[in-house]
Amino acid sequence: MQQPLDGLAACPRWTPTAPEQRRLGTVSTAKRMEMLVIQLPRGRSAVVQFDPARSTTVTDHCGFRALLEYGILDWNGHRCFPADGHRFFSALYDHLFLSGYRVRWLTWTPAARPRTW
């Protein structure tokens, strides 16, 4: 499994705007965020974000509803759901990667948080 990348320096072009952060709830006091950036066909992308402090997973793409609803099998063959927190997030990365998507796992720490406008 790919290790999370530290900081947004790994993906310098991706800088969430302030409205996007408010919508995703990332303007909270959480100390650390993890996110998956998925490249989709036709030049589009999607983001799934995990808040370790709250153990919540949010996404900006309606296509993940089915995955969130039916759950995903992890490496051990156990079905996990968003309520499983980090285990689900990790299984989601594996699922997308093995399905053929280009996925990047980013960790967003306060020190690396970009300036917003």
């Binding site: 072009r13 969430p16 409205p19 996007e20 919508r23 998925i38 490249q39 989709l40 066909p41 036709r42 030049g43 589009r44 992308s45 999607a46 983001v47 900006d60 793409h61 309606c62 296509g63 993940f64 509803r65 089915a66 995955l67 039916y70 699922h95 997308l96 399905s99 053929g100 998507y101 280009r102």
Partner: protein
């Protein structure tokens, strides 16, 4: 150059936008089945647009592209999210815009029989529609319905909503077989999902081009009187059925052995003609006069209704004229959803013009069909497009504006008399004029070069391919750093 995917912004409002392509030699025959599927999407509040494109890839193979989205659509876009292959043979998948993460539904033969024709990263679901459609029937349409059933399940469409009682003539047994197969045997691995829009939107009507033409030609001859628009709002589907039934008795359909495949619809007055799939020279032979007719070009289904209504208004001011609306080949078999309030707006304008035409100053062609301008007041590049190419240009302009590129576009509706004055005015507000042609004939570029004082550049589609917004964006070099 960095990959384009690194630039595009993340959609943040849970919008969905899916391009589905149906590939097969006899896809053009699946009119009822595609309409059944499109109606299900329209009923969910999605905007739908479908186009049947020219044979491509394998000789004789047709492609029907259908786009469904939560936002209004102008073209079928670029690339392909989901490809439904109904071919028996192994086609060449390289020309359909499949990318990593796209979905392919097909009845794949034994892997030993072919050398991996599917591009890397494409998510393939094997749906054995040939075997599943063997009993009862086993026809081509049955195979398509099995594939549609599986597709509906994968896209998260409520099966009960799709199996609406209005699905007359559709073999729901095969559709249900497809749904059941997908439910039992397919594990969803893709992220495509057709969700109804979260915001409340106006209801939509799904219209084919033929229906739009009939509505536009015979609208004012209905029995509703002043209650027509109210009936449209209260019982939309019944309103449509009644009006199309009425139009069948009023609108003539002309066909000729000299022009196979061309259909000419003539309105009750005999001087408004709609030409589906032919050249404007045919209009002269259909018209009852010796002079040259006013020729307009429709950019889509809704635009055809608008032009027909405005064309009839022009005739009231100039009864000796003939107005012809040209509908290009690629639009002749198209379907589009139209928001109910937009249709009501078009029809109410027709009602207003009926009451006021005698008192007002007689309108001219330029008054009734002004070219629409879009984009920056002073731009580096100014696109000009007629007909179906307008939808592609609208999305290309939107794409350019997202990146802050100064572009503008002019959308004329009139082909004859040629709008020379509008083109000259437009050319003075842009640094370079680029004509976007719908086909490779370059008819408009030549006319502009002949009639105007400037020499335009030209963008035209590659042989056998339809033009897409990304083609315009990339071909003009605007995307280069």
């Amino acid at each position: 150059m960095a990959p384009l995917t690194a630039w595009l912004p993340v959609r943040a409002d849970q919008e969905c936008d899916v391009v589905i392509a149906f590939l097969g030699r006899r896809v053009a025959e699946l009119t009822d089945e595609i309409e059944f599927f499109s109606k299900a999407l329209t009923d969910q509040g999605l905007h739908v647009l479908s186009r049947l494109s020219a044979p491509k890839g394998t000789v004789g193979t047709a492609v029907l592209r259908l786009r469904a989205a939560t936002h209004p659509l102008h073209s079928v876009g670029h690339g392909c999210d989901v490809l439904v292959c109904l071919e028996d043979d192994v086609p060449n998948f390289s020309g359909f815009g499949l990318q990593r993460g796209s979905v392919l539904l097909w009845d794949a033969p034994d892997p030993g029989q072919f050398h991996s024709p599917v591009p890397d990263g494409v998510i393939t679901y094997r749906v054995p529609h040939r075997a599943l459609s063997l009993s009862p029937g086993g026809q081509y349409t049955a195979r398509a319905l099995v594939a549609l059933g599986a597709l509906c399940h994968l896209l998260g469409l409520g099966v009960e909503a799709v199996r609406h009682p209005r699905a007359h003539g559709i073999d729901l047994w095969h559709f249900d077989t497809g749904v059941e197969f997908a439910r039992r045997h397919l594990v969803k691995r893709d992220v495509f999902y057709l969700a109804p829009p979260t915001r409340t939107q106006a209801r939509h009507l799904l219209l084919t081009m033929s229906q739009a033409v009939k509505l536009g030609l015979a609208f004012e001859h209905c029995d509703c009187g002043s209650d027509c628009l109210h009936r449209l709002a209260s019982s939309t589907n019944q309103w449509l059925i009644d009006h199309l039934s009425r139009a069948d008795h009023l609108v003539s359909l002309l066909q000729s052995g000299y022009h196979p495949g061309v259909r000419v619809y003539r309105g009750p007055e005999g001087r408004v003609l709609a030409l589906l799939g032919g050249d404007e020279s045919i209009l002269t032979s259909c018209a009852d006069q010796s002079g040259e007719p006013t020729v307009l070009v429709a950019s889509g289904v809704a635009d055809a209704v608008r032009l027909l209504i405005a064309g009839r208004r022009l005739l009231r001011a100039h009864p000796e004229w003939t107005v012809g609306i040209v509908i290009e080949d690629c639009l002749a078999a198209s379907q589009e959803s139209i928001a109910e309030d937009r249709l009501a707006d078009l029809l109410s304008r027709a009602s207003l013009s009926t009451r006021s035409c005698n008192s007002a100053v007689p309108p001219t062609t330029a008054d009734l069909f002004p070219s629409q301008r879009e984009g920056d007041p002073f731009a580096d590049i100014g696109y000009v497009a007629w007909g179906a190419a307008q939808g592609v240009v609208r999305e290309a302009v939107e794409l350019c504006q997202q990146f802050g590129l100064p572009v503008a576009a002019l959308y004329p509706s009139v082909r004859h008399p040629f709008p020379t004055a509008e083109l000259e005015t437009f050319s003075r507000t842009v640094r370079r004029v680029v004509v976007v042609e719908g086909d490779r004939a370059e008819e408009y570029s030549r006319r502009i070069a002949r009639c105007c004082s400037f020499q335009p550049g030209t963008v035209r589609p590659d042989p056998g391919h339809a033009l897409s917004p990304m083609d315009i964006f990339l071909r003009e070099g605007l995307g280069a750093p």
